[in-house]
Structures are given as structure tokens and as C-alpha cells.
Amino acid sequence: MRSSSSLFLIVCLSITVGLLWGYGEFTAYFNQGKEYQIQVRQLEKKLEREEFNYALLRNQLVDFQQSVAVILPPNSQIRNDVASYELKNFSGSLRVPASIAQLDLSGLFFEKGKKFFKEQKYEKAIKEFRKVLDEYPLSRYKIESHFFIAESYFLQKDYKNSLDLVDQMLVQYPDNDLTGFVMLRMGQISELNNRLEEASEIYKTVQSNFKSEQLRRQAQSLITDLQVE
């Protein structure tokens, strides 16, 4: 009796062990992704370590740069001659860029925009004029850039955007002649939308508020055309 129960126990245990081993083998065979997951985790750890080392080295380099930059003579004391050329180059490469005034390239972008405008490539023209406004907000071409953008939108028949620019010019440069010219465009847009009385009011406003002869003559001519219609 005892021997038969022991035998039974042994058989059960063997079957159990066999099942477990078989399960393990099947899992390993069908789930090969597990190895890759382990590899990925190891690589992630390695990457974390490399990023950490890089951050430390970078910090050491910047620290050294700044230590050297602080002991160099100020830019205003470095002479503008051949002998100081290398020193100026060296100090320029170490210092924080924002402390030097930017080169004003707004003229270049403005001329490019005008060229595109004359060639009737209005989209490109708008892009160049926008560069002037965004990158050089204190440029002397600011008002003209606004004007040309409004004109470009008008000539492309994008009246909504044109009116947005007109609004901006009215707020920012109410006494500038170019604002008067874009107001005439505003009047023309009103005419196209059959709002003739509104258009007439706009032309009269331009005529009475601006001193430029050319502008007043144009406004008068538009009023006359409106009356004829």
C-alpha cells in the first residue's frame, strides 16, 4: 500500500515537473522578444550613462570658456588693428552672442521683397517683408513692409488679410502717408463688396486727414468715380 502511494507520488511529481519544463520551453521558443527587451533595457542604461558623461564634460568645457572669457579684456578695449585680430576672434567665439548688436539685414530682405513684388510673385514678397517685421522689429523699413504686405494681399484678392494689415497700420502709424494709401485700398474693398457709402466715407476721410497731394488727388479721383457710378 505504502509502496503504491509512493509510486503514485513519484509519477505525479514527474508529470508536474515535465509539464512545467515543457511550458518553460514553449514560452522561451514563442516569446523570443524577451531577449530583445533585455537588450533594449541594457542599451537604455548605457545611453543614460553616456548622456550623463556628456553633460559633465560639456559643463566642464563651458566653465573653462567662461573663466577665460572673464579674464580677457573687454571688446571696447581691444584695438581694431591687425595685431589684435586673433584676440578679437578668440574673444568673439567665447562670449555670449546676445551682448553684441545684431547686423541689420532688413534692407536686404526689403529689397528682395520689392523685387518679388515687381515680378508679381506676391507670396514670396509677403514672406520677405514678414522677415523684416519679425526679425528686425526696429528696422526703418517697417512701415513700408507693412504697406507692401497689405498691397500684396490686395493684389492676390486676399481681402481679409489685407484688411488685417490695414487695421494694424491704422493703429500703429495713423499719420503716415502709406496708411492713407492702404486706406484707399480699404475703400476699394468696400466698393467690391457693394458698400459704396462706406467706401465714400473712407475716401473723404483720407482726403481730409492727409496732407500728401498725390494721396488727396487719388482720393478725389476715387470719389469722383464713385459718384459717376
Binding site: T16, L56, S67, S99
Partner: protein, 245 residues
């Protein structure tokens, strides 16, 4: 039957795959933190807290530090450090260092500048060009890099934006919610007159700048008058030599 189950569990336990993820902080030299200085390490926990003697520090996850001298000198490389209490600790960055008396302050390393935020300490920032700036309680200042005049660029002292600060503070605070709210209220009360204080600060800075400009003008005038006198003297000398001899 009992024996059978015992043996079965014994065998089953060897089938289970148990993996323990060891959270070893990334450090250089390896495993140096708390054991030797200098030691650079990266914070990998969500809320990191360090306490040793009178020094109590918190840091955000991903922050990188170098402990240069135990409890005396730390360097912040990346991230943010909340100094809850560290009377004799110096916290350095690339172009400046902070030393605060007992009280709280924050040091935040951004891409191209470091922000020092004083909560309740007496905080003095020493810049790399040896200039010192004292940041009053409830104010912060940013410090940048060296500019073309060999001076360390820095901003004006300005009041702390409590709303954005609370987000960072709440992320690291480990106490109870009621305690946090009570501390926030205390700070709001203490900082109630920051607007007037900032007005005073800006007034002093403006007056100082104006005085410096006046000084420069006066010195330029003096120099010009000295040069003019020298020119007259030389002309007189020349006239005497030519016409009297």
C-alpha cells in the same frame, strides 16, 4: 499529501523568473555618492531628498550635481535644486555661486542661464566677474554668461511668480497637503509688500546708474579741460621759444 504539496511548491518556485531591478544612481566615480567627494551624480527618483547634519536638499528628477566638498560646496549642472536648509553651503553654477544663510532658496539651471530664487534666506550671489548681488526674500534673479565687456550678464531682481513656483515646489514637497497650504499662506503673507520693495529696488538701481553716468560725464569734462590746458601750455612754450629767443 502534505509532503507532495511541499515538494511541488519547491519545484514551482524554481520555475518562476524573479528579476530585481537595482536602482543604482548614475554616478561618476561609480557608487561615489555618500562615500567620497568630489562625486557627480544624476537624480533618477521622482522626489529626491538629501539630509546630512544641518543640510537638507531636494532635487527634481533628472538633475545632475557634483558634490565638490561634503556639505560645503555643490555644483548644479542640470535641473533644479531646492535648498531647504543649508547655512554654510555654496551652490555653484557655471558663472556664479550662491551662498545662503539658514532659510530656503532655489537654484534652477536652464539652458543658457541660472535662476536664483530666494524664499526665506539671506542670499548673496557672487558672479564670476566678482560682482556680488544680494537677492531679497521673495525675489529672484537670472544669471547668464560672460558678455563682450567681460561682465557676467544678469537680469534685474524681480518678484517671484508664485503661481509657477508653486508647481515646482508642490512637485518636491513631501509633507501633508494641509501643511503645504499653510506654508504657502505664510509665504503669501510674508511677501505681501514685495511690490513696494521692488519699486524701492528699481529706484535705487536707477539712481545708481544715473549717478554713474553723471560721474562719467564729469570725468570726461575734467579730462577735456586738462587736455585744453596742456595744449595752451605747449602753445605758450612754443611761442616763447620761437619769438623770444
Amino acid at each position: 499529501m502534505r509532503t507532495f504539496f511541499k515538494i511541488l511548491f519547491f519545484i514551482l518556485s524554481f520555475q518562476m523568473e524573479v528579476r530585481v531591478r537595482a536602482s543604482v544612481p548614475v554616478a561618476l566615480p561609480k557608487n561615489c555618492f555618500g562615500r567620497m567627494t568630489p562625486c557627480s551624480f544624476k537624480v533618477t527618483e521622482e522626489k529626491w531628498f538629501y539630509s546630512s547634519g544641518s543640510v537638507k536638499l531636494h532635487a527634481t528628477s533628472g538633475s545632475i550635481f557634483t558634490e565638490i566638498e561634503k556639505n560645503k560646496e555643490w555644483k548644479l549642472i542640470e535641473g533644479a535644486l531646492w535648498v531647504e536648509n543649508a547655512p554654510s553651503l555654496r551652490v555653484k553654477s557655471v558663472t556664479s555661486e550662491a551662498e545662503g544663510s539658514s532659510g530656503q532658496y532655489w537654484v534652477i539651471a536652464e539652458k543658457s542661464r541660472t535662476i536664483y530664487r530666494n524664499i526665506s534666506a539671506r542670499l548673496v550671489i557672487t558672479l564670476k566677474d566678482q560682482k556680488k548681488v544680494e537677492v531679497p526674500k521673495g525675489f529672484e534673479i537670472w544669471v547668464g554668461a560672460v558678455n563682450s565687456e567681460s561682465e557676467v550678464e544678469h537680469g534685474m531682481i524681480e518678484p517671484i511668480n508664485l503661481k509657477s513656483h508653486l508647481r515646482s515646489w508642490g512637485g518636491l514637497y513631501s509633507g501633508k497637503k494641509e501643511q503645504f497650504l499653510s506654508e504657502v499662506q505664510d509665504i503669501k503673507d510674508q511677501w505681501a509688500d514685495r511690490v513696494e520693495q521692488s519699486g524701492e529696488i528699481y529706484k535705487k538701481v536707477t539712481e545708481r546708474n544715473l549717478a554713474a553716468i553723471e560721474d562719467k560725464k564729469r570725468m570726461a569734462l575734467e579730462k577735456r579741460s586738462q587736455q585744453e590746458q596742456e595744449r595752451l601750455r605747449i602753445r605758450e612754450e612754443f611761442r616763447r621759444k620761437v619769438f623770444e629767443y
